[in-house]
């Protein structure tokens, strides 16, 4: 017995998706429009704003910083997050149960409070270099994603395979690299990608830690937007949306996007 969904609900859903995707189409229109303000009805098209991105050095420089920070922060977080996720999944009895929650703390504590506290204690209190403080902040920010996503992969991993390798004489560290790691590869890739995009888009932590000479792309965009309206911002936004599309394609290939609804 299958009941039809009420037409009013379907109409509402269509409108909601229009609401969700419309603004992104507006950005695309704004980036391609040859008028500085997007007017209705639309005028001619141009790629001038895209070209403009590469003429504003603040954008190209912060793009590089953001990219390095996202790769570095995520790599650092994975490097310590994978062993932690492994320990949590493998040694359930030996570790206290609260430990799993410790790695979720960066989500629980408001990001902006974390940014402020890092600025106060590290950058200002200890005088740590800007880039190092940013790296620590971003590694913390993405740690929950690394531990949770890799952990989800490990929870469906059958540890008796690893035991089999060990009992046949394979050293434990080698069993980890040749047996465990290849089996959780999808989780690592997906976790890396989600963490990367989170770090790339971060505002609340970076806003306190960027300083003279060092800034990230979102912070630069924010500062630019507050001062004047420039369609170059729309062009940068379109580039960022391109990154999102690439990321979604990778997640779809590795885990399937339905993974995100679980």
């Amino acid at each position: 017995m299958k009941r039809k969904t009420h037409p009013a609900l379907i109409a509402f859903t269509v409108l909601t998706f229009f609401f969700l995707l419309g603004p992104l189409v507006v950005i695309l229109g704004s980036a391609l429009s040859d008028t500085p303000f997007l007017t209705f009805p639309p005028q001619g098209l141009t790629l001038h704003w895209f070209q403009n991105i590469f003429e504003i050095s603040a954008f190209t420089r912060t793009m590089g910083t953001s990219f390095m920070l996202a790769v570095g922060g995520t790599a650092l977080s994975m490097l310590i997050g994978i062993p932690a996720a492994y320990a949590l999944a493998r040694y359930r009895v030996e570790l206290p149960s609260f430990l799993g929650n410790v790695f979720v703390l960066p989500i629980l504590i408001p990001e902006i409070v974390l940014g402020f506290s890092l600025m106060k204690s590290l950058a200002s209190g200890l005088g740590t270099p800007i880039m190092a403080t940013l790296l620590v902040g971003h590694a913390l920010l993405v740690l929950p994603y690394c531990v949770r996503v890799v952990g989800a992969s490990l929870n469906s991993f059958d540890f008796s395979i690893e035991e089999a390798a060990v009992s046949l004489g394979c050293p434990r560290w080698r069993a980890f690299f040749t047996v465990v790691l290849p089996n959780i590869r999808a989780g690592i890739i997906a976790g890396f990608i989600l963490a990367f995009i989170t770090s790339l888009n971060d505002v609340s932590i970076s806003i306190f830690l960027t300083g003279p000479g060092v800034s990230t792309l979102p912070i630069q965009l924010l500062a630019h937007m507050e001062q004047f309206f420039d369609p170059t911002i729309a062009a940068v936004s379109v580039l960022l949306m391109g990154v999102t599309v690439a990321v979604m394609a990778v997640v779809e290939r590795t885990l399937g996007l339905t993974f995100l609804t679980k």
Binding site: K2, R3, L9, F12, T16, F17, L20, L21, P23, V26, I27, F37, L38, T39, F40, L79, I80, G81, P83, A84, A87, Y91, E94, L95, L99, P106, L108, I109, P110, I112, V113, L114, F116, S117, L118, K120, S121, A139, L140, L143, V147, N201, V203, S204, F208, P218, L221, L222, M225, F229, I233, S237, L240, M241, T244, V245, M248, T258, L260, T261
Partner: protein
Amino acid sequence: MSHRMQAWLLAAPATLLVFVFLGLPVLSTLAMTFADPKGPLASYAAFFNSGFRMTVLWRTMEVALTTTILSVGIGFVVAWVVARAPSRLKSLLIIAAVFPLLTGVVVRAFAWLVILGKNGILNSFLLWIGAITEPLSMLYTQGSVIVAMVYLFVPLMILTLVGVLEGIPQDLTDAAASLGATPAAAFRQVVLPMAVPGLIVGSVLVFTGSFTSYATPQLLGGERQMMMGTFLYQRAMVTFDWLGASTIAAVMVVVTLATVLLMSRLARKLNPVAG
């Protein structure tokens, strides 16, 4: 080496990162609020006695609560339709919800600047069709902040609820119907109670997310619609009042943790399965 030792060694680097670079700095911020030279609770007295600070707190509460209610309403209906859509269409709709979610907050706030601005596309459209003769000022109002926040959080709500609603077997509503329940009664007595845990998780995410947001209120609300996040930044980086900023941070932490704890208790109480 014992198993316990091994386990701790593997978990140690990540645990240390959290304790040293999150635990200590945040605790030091919280400790600072009690170190006011005027007395241990003076900074809180100053916060709760200041009309301006309380206005910011209540405004933030109001915006976060409105955003949560709207996101739950919209998200529930859409998730319901998406969960029952044929599988090809369903994956397409999920992709359409994930895409904005993975796009950065700055980009998404910028879209609303382009739409709602004085020279924005909405004004331009309304002038063109002759509905208005003068451009409306829609930015820097509570409304513009709420619209952009709902925009920010509806995808999150949809994705959370699709997972939950998909898990409710059709057989259950069919059984209710065959036992004489009207569709409305089946929805209220079967579907809704099973969706409660998901609704609570989603609401907590949206409420805490909007309560602590920075970029959206900064761009769409500006000085006039200051919220806790923008207020904290202003105190810390513009007026360099770190004690004041720490007090704002402490209030944010308390509200966030209290919401999470209360709602997870509520979830446990209402969950028909776990009891």
